[in-house]
């Protein structure tokens, strides 16, 4: 035990993957819902 963390790339990749999925997914969700929402002038 040296108090140093060895390896751990799987956690790094998981954190970046979750971040990408959540942010891109939310961006897509907002654009999709806005595109689907009717304008109040009926368009």
């Amino acid at each position: 035990m040296r108090g140093v963390i060895e390896g751990g790339w799987e956690f790094v990749i998981a954190a970046y993957a979750v971040t990408a999925v959540v942010l891109l997914g939310y961006a897509f969700s907002v654009c999709w819902r806005l595109w689907r929402a009717p304008r109040h002038d009926g368009r």
Partner: protein
Amino acid sequence: MGNSRWPFVTSGLGLALLVWGSVWGLLYAPREVYMGDVQRIMYVHVPTAWNAMLVLTFAFACAVLSLLRGGWGWDARLEAAVEGGVVLSALLCTQGSIWARPTWGVWWDWDPRLTTTAVLLFAFAGILALRQFVDDPVKRAVWTAVAVVIAYVDVPLVYFSVRWWNSLHQLQSTPETVSRAFHWPLRINAFGVLFLMIGLVELRARLAWRRRAAESAPPLPSRVAMAAGSL
């Protein structure tokens, strides 16, 4: 609410900054002495935390302005900011859990910082749920604004929890507590999330505005009524 394209440009710029900062943080930033490569999670975790606080602070400002001045624009921005804050808070808890496993040995601990952040997430998620259950737009706007003002009390508790109570979590990351070698990817990703959320909150506010306008719009004449009128 306008229809200009600036939110798309802002969001695109934010995504580009996030890619740049993440590549820098993953491939070019040095390893931290004690945490090794696991510390690279900081480049997405800390910008998420900063921006979650910022978005929820914007929601608080919208709530106060909605109560003082009224107007559906503030209510639409409030709904957008609360949703953005919930997304970032959920992401924050997930990233933190992934970072906690290799450093603390557990996925979760009822530590003051983690507990207050979980309370924040569920409080604002509850406010979003509340909006779904209230049909009257005026009551919905007032109740949501009051609930946001009350829930916002937890934001300073989250921020100061690591100073006020014994916490496993480290102190806040600031330029003074982070080594110079780690500054640039952290800052680039912080601005990346900021620009992305500015664009997305504006677009989400436009969506809320359209739904509100549709609620108050007169119903379209039904086919039956039109047919009767033509007789």
